[in-house]
Symmetry: C2
Subunit: 411 residues, 2 copies
């Protein structure tokens, strides 16, 4: 059996990693993201593809269910709709956490693939029909009307959708957070308990494929209108909440807001604009669900009951921060889509709107969730967020915040 | 600034990691899982807590939003319902991918926590009310009746729920897959592009906290009845499918089957049993959503159209395997819950039922999804799975499998 190589170094093998000129206009000059483990000389990224599912791939090889040298056959997999390139792809500071060419690798790197390079897409674009009961409700209430194209009378909605895996260009990530790249690399290495020595030994490798979840985008309307300044855009920017999104838990407004955002996106598409729903895998404010459930218990059991005044404190006691979503990276996807202006933004979050404006994306109208869509037990969250800076026409009074409005744990 | 330590070794510092005797009856003898980065001498696990959200934690520290020395305050966070210990916790071969004491660390390791050890829960148990439109439909159709306790007339369902982060005991994982531990460790290291040198340098560290998603369990009925042989159990074992579970995409039966499973769980709880829905983060058969969307395109565009006969082939061409969920580890959660028999199992998957039986869990009745709940475009998937071994009363004919039943990509 071959020697195990614990750490790699830039000089090793006398061959430099294939260069990346992030933001270069010509994709051949920009160079492909190569996260292969089968061909070390061509590798120019730390980590492997598929986000956290890269661990399942390794386990499948260990279990002898997958051959380590399998190369994907990309026949018929190309994007169902073209997206880009847009001018925003060529400013290396605008997109730092995804590869804008990620869906087009089979096309723009066809010569390298033919020469045997193991290059993989980090984005895929397909089409689907979706059907959510809330859309039927919106039709029944007369808020939406079927058009037999985008929205059928049975509630089927035609969408284009894109899945995106994270690709971090480390110099850009460091600059976005205002820290030195060397400190970013060292902290990522040390605070993950030593994940990827290459973060510190390979400053020549500027790309990192982190083992985290990515994003999914649902498009409503004509995707070819993206990138045109006169196209009106509606948007819901949604961070995963499995308990509400899937199971309809009533402690938060996540699924109601998602459904409301989709309603607004369908409406915009019917008027000739494009609706964009962005779904980010950041469960429990990126603290994960174990922390989220611990906080639920602490909120419901605290002396005085579950109140808006203590809402953020309880998270901070357990997690050390109120929120770990780091919205600084989130605007990248808008630059990928050539969106510089959101006409109708279905979100009240000041963290999201501030982060978008910081990256030069204009928000024309921020659309609040209608009161009748807020579950009773979620009023604590809404009051706390409004007091903390959420977009609202009426900030709650201090006395209101101190009231226990959430159910007790055993109710 | 301190020297960066690239690799660690067992002899280092002259102090051995706190021992783990996996499966030991006394939790103090078993020992705590310690995934801290703040106190290396007490660390006995490779990796960090929170699954893939550990990377967000590291990034938050790099961005100077979180102090690296923050210790959680666990006041009021203890489980909303007790679970275990059960006899199955004390067979080290029965549970290898989670820590059965994970929700009880503040109780069973109280002395070590008081002495300053950084021990964190890997499981949290809370309570919630959930509400899904499909449950209202089931009441309207007369299949479910409100009881004003578990199920209210407005469709609110009372649940207990648990979030579980993965904790891998590497000797047990290796044995489960029938491979040598040294080979498992090396393959996990090399095939992730060098994630965690400790996988190979630290054979003394038997625990690994992999950066992958975990599981959520929804309980219907009285949780204290778990572990009693006469308690009837209904179960839906569900692998994440964001497109269907959240957005209601009609290409598969995921959300319809989940809702049907919940219906069966509510029914069982109303009859005095316990319903258990297990939700595993294994998107797109643990291949991830980018691969899933590439496969959708290949299925819809192939000559002859989207047919059951080609269903699994298209996945294998892209991913190298038909499935990467590795159901071998999935039964652990049943042993954690003291469940040795599932009376009503809402799943047709032979991969799931085979894996459960292999681990000694009896399945009394396998409940198929009613035909009227299958979306038209999902018929391709259903036919393919039935032909491949899914539980069904009528296997499809070969001629039937060759028919293109799925929509074209642009329909």
């Amino acid at each position: 059996m071959a020697h195990i190589r614990l750490n790699t170094h830039p000089s090793q093998g006398g061959q430099a990693a294939p260069p990346i000129i992030w933001g270069a206009r010509d994709p051949k000059l920009r160079g492909p993201v190569v996260g292969t483990v089968g061909d070390p000389a061509k590798r120019n990224a730390i980590g492997v593809h598929s986000g956290s599912y890269g661990i399942y791939r390794a386990l499948a090889i260990a279990a002898q269910e997958l051959k380590p040298d399998h190369r994907p056959d990309f026949t018929n997999t190309s994007p169902a709709e073209p997206i880009g390139p847009f001018e925003s792809w060529f400013d290396p500071k605008k997109i730092v956490s995804l590869d804008p060419w990620g869906h087009m690798v089979a096309e723009v790197f066809a010569d390298k693939l033919a020469a045997g390079w193991d290059i993989r897409p980090t984005i895929a674009v397909t089409k689907a029909h979706v059907n959510m009961p809330e859309i039927m409700d919106a039709m029944a209430a007369g808020r939406l009307k079927p058009d037999n194209d985008i929205l059928s009378g049975s509630g089927d909605v035609k969408v284009t959708k894109a899945a995106i895996e994270p690709v971090w260009w480390l110099p850009g990530i460091a600059e976005r957070f205002g820290v030195r790249e060397v400190d970013l690399r060292r902290t990522l290495f040390e605070q993950t308990g030593g994940m990827y020595t290459e973060l510190v030994t390979r400053p020549d490798l500027e790309l990192f494929l982190p083992p985290i979840g990515g994003s999914t985008i649902y498009f409503f309307g004509d995707v070819s209108k993206l990138g045109k300044p006169d196209t009106k855009i509606a948007c819901r920017l949604h961070d995963e909440c499995n308990g509400s999104d899937v199971f309809g838990s009533d402690i938060c407004t996540c699924r109601p807001y998602l459904a409301h955002g989709i309603e607004i996106c369908i409406e915009m598409a019917q008027k000739g604009g494009v609706g964009v729903v962005i779904y980010n895998r950041k469960e429990g404010r990126a603290l994960g669900e174990v922390t989220k459930f611990l906080v639920y218990n602490a909120r419901k059991r605290q002396p005085g009951g579950d109140s808006a005044a203590q809402y953020f404190n309880r998270t901070e006691c357990v997690a050390g921060v109120q929120d770990m979503r780091l919205q600084e990276l989130m605007p990248d996807v808008f630059h990928w889509l050539g969106i510089a202006r959101i006409d109708r933004f279905a979100s009240m979050s000041n963290m999201k709107s501030d982060a978008l404006r910081e990256q030069g994306i204009e928000i024309v109208e921020q659309v609040a969730i209608p009161d009748e869509l807020i579950p009773a037990d979620a009023q604590v969250e809404m009051d706390a967020k409004k007091a903390a800076g959420y977009f609202t026409s009426k900030k709650p009074e201090t006395a209101e915040l101190a009231k226990a409005k959430g159910r007790g744990l055993n109710e």
